[in-house]
Subunit: 195 residues, 6 copies
Amino acid sequence: MTDAISRFPVPRQEELPDDIRARILAVQEKSGFVPNVFLVLAHRPDEFRAFFAYHDALMEKPGGLSKAEREMIVVATSAGNHCLYCVVAHGAILRIRAKDATISERVAVNVREADLPPRQRAMLEFALKVAHESHAVCAADFEDLRAQGFSDEDAWDIGAIAAFFALSNRMAHLTGMRPNREFYAMGREAAPARG
Amino acid sequence: MTDAISRFPVPRQEELPDDIRARILAVQEKSGFVPNVFLVLAHRPDEFRAFFAYHDALMEKPGGLSKAEREMIVVATSAGNHCLYCVVAHGAILRIRAKDATISERVAVNVREADLPPRQRAMLEFALKVAHESHAVCAADFEDLRAQGFSDEDAWDIGAIAAFFALSNRMAHLTGMRPNREFYAMGREAAPARG
Amino acid sequence: MTDAISRFPVPRQEELPDDIRARILAVQEKSGFVPNVFLVLAHRPDEFRAFFAYHDALMEKPGGLSKAEREMIVVATSAGNHCLYCVVAHGAILRIRAKDATISERVAVNVREADLPPRQRAMLEFALKVAHESHAVCAADFEDLRAQGFSDEDAWDIGAIAAFFALSNRMAHLTGMRPNREFYAMGREAAPARG
Amino acid sequence: MTDAISRFPVPRQEELPDDIRARILAVQEKSGFVPNVFLVLAHRPDEFRAFFAYHDALMEKPGGLSKAEREMIVVATSAGNHCLYCVVAHGAILRIRAKDATISERVAVNVREADLPPRQRAMLEFALKVAHESHAVCAADFEDLRAQGFSDEDAWDIGAIAAFFALSNRMAHLTGMRPNREFYAMGREAAPARG
Amino acid sequence: MTDAISRFPVPRQEELPDDIRARILAVQEKSGFVPNVFLVLAHRPDEFRAFFAYHDALMEKPGGLSKAEREMIVVATSAGNHCLYCVVAHGAILRIRAKDATISERVAVNVREADLPPRQRAMLEFALKVAHESHAVCAADFEDLRAQGFSDEDAWDIGAIAAFFALSNRMAHLTGMRPNREFYAMGREAAPARG
Amino acid sequence: MTDAISRFPVPRQEELPDDIRARILAVQEKSGFVPNVFLVLAHRPDEFRAFFAYHDALMEKPGGLSKAEREMIVVATSAGNHCLYCVVAHGAILRIRAKDATISERVAVNVREADLPPRQRAMLEFALKVAHESHAVCAADFEDLRAQGFSDEDAWDIGAIAAFFALSNRMAHLTGMRPNREFYAMGREAAPARG
């Protein structure tokens, strides 16, 4: 048991390159705290910049997937990879974006028991296939997505988010990244009426 | 998406045998709600009685394991089995008994990242071995537990709790049991100071 | 190599609570010997009582499954779990109840090669799904069972037997339970005419 | 359910090449029946000849392994491959050669629970590694065998028997080969005194 | 790193039985070098003879599969078994027989990405099923092959080649067989025009 | 069979943003052809920029790993993921950087049979752990790397390359990316003297 958030050195604020410090301060401003992923990856500024550029290109872009749906992909695939940081941090964001206090555990523990609409179930099954057996992705998978109303550009988005968090989960495990305590408590109050 | 808590008929209160109704009312009195496992399993009164007798024999007995540790075993092995009901319901109980708002996700997602003391880490590794590859349990496993201060009676308790929830997880999946909404929100406020 | 039937202390007859001694004597009367599961689990009287109450609630109850079919479920799922005690003990009971000297090995080694009628094949496939990937049980599985003439109550029975022996197999592995020699020889003589 | 012993045509005795008919008659003379593997593989005479030449080169040769030990390798690896024919047929031969009515089930269900002497346990662990993850065989495995008194030539024998039955199990599954009823009953009477 | 081609003694030419020396000299005459499998297996002359008799019975016989298709089966299943010798040696033969410099890597890395015609894709899927989960082979697999124009005798050939190389791969791993350097360079020049 | 290099639209040169066209022309200048990954990912310019920025931050940076060693990590982990594009393209680069015509197949098929020096063997085992079971990465893994002379910064590099190609392999599978024919033939001539 330790308070360390990384196996690697975590730079102090004054050591950071200006652009990275600016991004971190902006996040702190907005969220009230600095998610540890920013501090842990700042140990490698070039990788930090590429990581968040990639993240934003997938998670902040317009497109057919809602922001909550993108977070569902992150939580489902990260749970499959047993990544504590991503399940906890993106579980919090998912609860807030979906306005649903129960959604993150439902998605993380068992997509089949999550009582999702068919569209989101199909989305997550494709994401999990990309995450865990991408070599078997085939034309029929795209057909299944189209049958649920997803365009091929949506399919790219689903698969690319799963692919990016395959990277992200592995970096969290490599660095021993630990989630901020704040994430555990976020979005717990708004459980909609369900069974 | 459905509000059903079971694939099978759920008896109304007036249909229940007296002893089962009494137990259910006692739980409701104590908890403020009736956990769905009581209602779902009441469809089969004889199995209900045996199930809770077994549960109490393991979870309420005295012994070397704290009540929080017993719940840790339930959460870790149920997460390995992707059982939404048990992860959510016993995750709530674990947070309350451990007085730790972050413990259930830490244990459910990845025991290796849970930052547990060596005793609890060894306890959960044995429990997971019983849950997922019990045919490989051997004398060396008992040695490892003794090295952490567990008696052989404690080893029985750890293994038997893992074994009982192997049954319980499967009954939850068989019946399509859904966790009560109340569990998701319980014990979220008391996060101790950690990274 | 050892003659021990358990890793844990096995109570002498005079140490047993009256109800447990009575049950053991009744079994001995009927079978001519005491199956080791009774002696091994008697180390924990409360768990013993719950275990056999649960066992009897599933294996002795009336219902759509024949007694031989219930034993087929035990043998198939216990073989999947590599549980020597249950395969040998229930293999013996299966041979006797099915009046078929070859059935236990056929079911234990490979259900697909067991040359079973479609009803029993479907029953065992569902039991194996509950035993090994219960988180994937879904509505379509119940449809498949209905197509073979099973009611939903039968489906509960199949799944609950698989679930109970998930517990039982793990207890056998935890305790190092060894089958009585008598089981190996029982029911070997009545092979019906098959290839 | 069918009485067919193969998915492929089984030649009548008068259709067989002389050498193959002679071998089959010799087996029948000795055993009192013709094991189905001879009839099923006779569909391809050249493969039949190579198969049994290979079999005899491994199973009938002199060397450090007893005949019973060779059959233990066959039963353990064939059970791992879920091959009904080989488990049943070689289980019968094993019981007879080992003069032990319980040995075949002990080895087939769980080598760890078979209560074997360390030499035979090590032998079977190496055989199972060759059968199921041969790409991981390494120098340390040979050291482990030497520590139990096996020469490197014995190691070849153990591994080659596992390799040959990797072929044999797959041919049995390809052809749908079914074991003769006689095998199930052989060697059941001589259980030595064990727990 | 070592130049050894086997963990076991490799006989010098003058130590070889006449028939084995003759076969080796004939191969050397034809190929310009002696593939290491001949030298490594010559340590056991009886097994050598059976091995190559079996090999020739499957790989040199007439039938519905082209010689290139047989090599495709070898490469695909050997890659699944992580067998360096067979992937490299038979990859070379496959490139030459198929007159395609890219075919061996396409088949070895991912059959689904190999851009094969449906007939060859079906052939390899059946071969991989025999290689990796032969206990699940069933009547529907033969139907699928017939739908692609394969006779049942072709199905035997496909399955038997997969079965034989299950043996061969394991012998290569047991002996630590290393591929000749010559194989790596063979057939690299003839890449047909593809993406 | 198709000549398509992607399931998604591939932009024509004149459609490309200036910076991306410039990068592609520079690669073509240097290599004599445009590797398909540049054309396939150009469908999404923002992701293209982040992808290659990340790639260069890991593969072009100074550090304790040679360029050939970085390519070994790519080939080993991509083979584990069955990614044809990355195995073929980076296999070519690896052969050239290592000046070894046999290294790519040795690393791709079975790291254990690749006859690598202990340092590179340890490097690849860590990379494969990050690729396939990163949740189990622990302090002992870093100790093992230090014992082979790797600094913790080297460990980050090894793990981060494995993590980046976890993303890359999944993008190749998502898009159906096919390797250029040129890669298959590159670096085949320089096999050093090995068994």
